[in-house]
Subunit: 375 residues, 2 copies
């Protein structure tokens, strides 16, 4: 296994599994817990790399499936890899393509070798298995890459998940046996649906292979909060404490806080950027829907407690106008605000853990942030 | 008449009517000849105010018709005017709304008082006459505002244009008699179609009223290059040399150079930003269509002679990928490049005029820039 990734735990919460740490990659360090914005096609939608940095973003995620189909990993490799292609010099994590193969592509057929599927773009036929997923990620050159897993539908019965775990472990072995670049770290993905014994089995089989970090897959696919909490709790207890834990596709601020409490270090989600483009803005007091007529002449910033680029310069009235007029600047200004909100949230959580006041932080956060419907 | 606008001619070309100067407004100075990007709805599409400044933009144009309909001039006034609303501290010029009333709205009825029309957004009925156009522009608070003119269709027969000129002069008088803000300058718009005697009549009637500057309206509406040149030439000769001349809605780099040669100081056009969003990029060697497959793995910047933000950081391959993937960053990066191209072109023209080498500049420019189809 590569030892390119270093994970250092700096402090642990006395009242939960929350921990604050630091991960060092080939393209620099970032503090944990960390939120990774999603740059699906080699661009975090509507924002520039400079704006990401100014918004506090230190690592981004890119989607292997999308970049494989367009522009193609070979082109990105030829142009010096994804960092250079998209002008992002910080750490990048690529997913394995597994999730998108299941959620976006058509006519999938799964075998022990991998998945044959049709592109959602043009219907062309493709095959990706564990070796292919690693090869593509090697071409892209991300700092953290992921094993190719079998993403079960939700809900799925026990028998389906037994097989899914089996395939995921088989593919994880093939991934780890593939040649990756010396400055890439490889994470395994734990599957197992909502079945504690299968989560345990999946975790143990992956740990035996030995990865640089462990991700929880198959969550944030429609299950309720209590179920998700239970699955995270029952999976994390089997994972080695000294390795980073990554909860894929999560999520809402409140779900991230739940995850951190349960021992998760890394998160990714399209929520801050997608919501921004839909005109939903995160604030310390909950969500704000910018198209609401009450903001039409509101001279205040989105969040009076926020220091982001957008809040320092623009009124709710202007942001509402841009959104109603479908101006491209709307999506950018909203995205910058939401990314800053997420980064700032993670930073505050981290400080709270470092001072062992995470419990107080959570109470205070939820008192102020009433979540959906607070607008 | 307000004396808030100062126009200083610094040098004149010996071989043409081209001149280099400087205009001082309530929100600062800009050098002429100048190109004004269009911020139709209070935002130059896809770019931020900081990016405009970095791209060399010193004055922008906003559309009265659009801002009147949405968000409404009263809201902008309440929020401190357009400069504050859109966070642009430099000079702004607003058109009078005349052109859009004719080109965008439905069911127009023109009377001596003004125009009744239906909004292109929701079909609501509105009336704008000369006093209304000035009042709206007063609320918006631009540094340079325009008289409300009658924009004739093209082509139009002599009788139609006789009446158009008559109405334009009548309305210009009403505009000049309206109360405007002490720090706003008012420009008159010369109409007259392609008829030299009517252009002369229109120019003389406006000059008698006395404006801070004179615009040429009713051009860039479908006429050929030779016709446009003839009309500009036959209008400019009647305008006072000490006032700025503004050619509305022009245009292509080659048309701007033609205009400057004929004595025009100010230009505006959606071309750099609209073309950017269509993937057409201006370069010193002509236009480049970024979606062309030949750029798919081209590591070079759009223009190897360009120092803009986009060319300093991104390859043609990445820009092509963003455009094909419809990423929002595509429109921004392309717009920044095209705006920089225009600003840089104007700067080079100005230097050439200051050194009285404008003729050489034109020859050199056209030798390199072969215009449409050079890609």
């Amino acid at each position: 296994m590569s030892s390119t990734l270093e994970f250092k735990i700096i402090n642990k919460c006395h009242a939960s599994r929350a921990r604050a740490g630091e991960i060092t990659t080939s393209h620099g360090k970032f503090a944990t817990p960390v939120f990774m914005p999603v740059g699906t096609q080699g661009s975090v939608r509507a924002v520039s790399p400079e704006e990401l940095v100014e918004s506090g973003v230190r690592i981004i995620l890119a989607n292997t499936y999308h970049l494989y189909l367009r522009p193609g990993h070979r082109i990105i490799e030829k142009l010096g890899g994804l960092h250079r292609f998209m002008n992002w010099s910080g750490p990048i994590l690529t997913d394995s393509g597994g999730f998108q193969v299941y959620s976006l592509s058509r006519l999938r057929t799964i075998s022990e070798e991998g998945v044959t599927f049709q592109s959602h773009l043009d219907g062309s036929r493709h095959f990706i298995g564990p070796e292919e997923a690693i090869n593509i990620q090697k071409s892209l050159g991300a700092d953290i890459i992921m094993t190719f897993d079998e993403c079960a539908p939700y809900p799925a019965d026990y028998e389906y998940i037994v097989n899914s775990v089996k395939l995921t472990s088989l593919w994880a072995r093939k991934c780890i046996e593939s040649e990756i670049d010396a400055n890439q770290a490889l994470f395994g993905i734990v599957q197992g649906g909502i079945y504690p014994d299968l989560r345990e089995r999946s975790a143990k089989e992956l740990i035996e292979l030995g990865f640089d970090g462990y991700a929880l897959g198959g969550l944030s696919v429609g299950e309720d909060r209590a179920t998700r909490e239970k699955v995270i709790r029952e999976t994390v207890e089997f994972l080695p404490e000294e390795k980073p834990v990554y909860l894929m596709g999560v999520g809402k601020p409140e779900d991230i806080i739940d995850g951190i409490r349960l021992g998760v270090d890394m998160f990714d989600c399209v929520m801050p950027t997608r919501n921004a483009r839909n005109g939903t803005l995160f604030t310390s007091r909950g969500k704000l829907v910018i198209k609401n007529a009450r903001y039409s002449d509101d001279d205040r910033p989105v969040d009076e407690k926020c220091d982001c680029y957008t809040c320092s310069r623009y009124s709710r009235a202007y942001l509402r106008h841009l959104f109603m007029a479908k101006e491209l600047l709307s999506y950018r200004l909203n995205s910058i605000h939401n990314l800053y909100f997420y980064s700032h949230l993670m930073e505050n959580i981290r400080y709270a853990i470092l001072e062992d006041k995470f419990d107080d932080f959570c109470k205070e956060f939820f008192r102020s942030y009433s979540g959906p419907g607070s607008d």
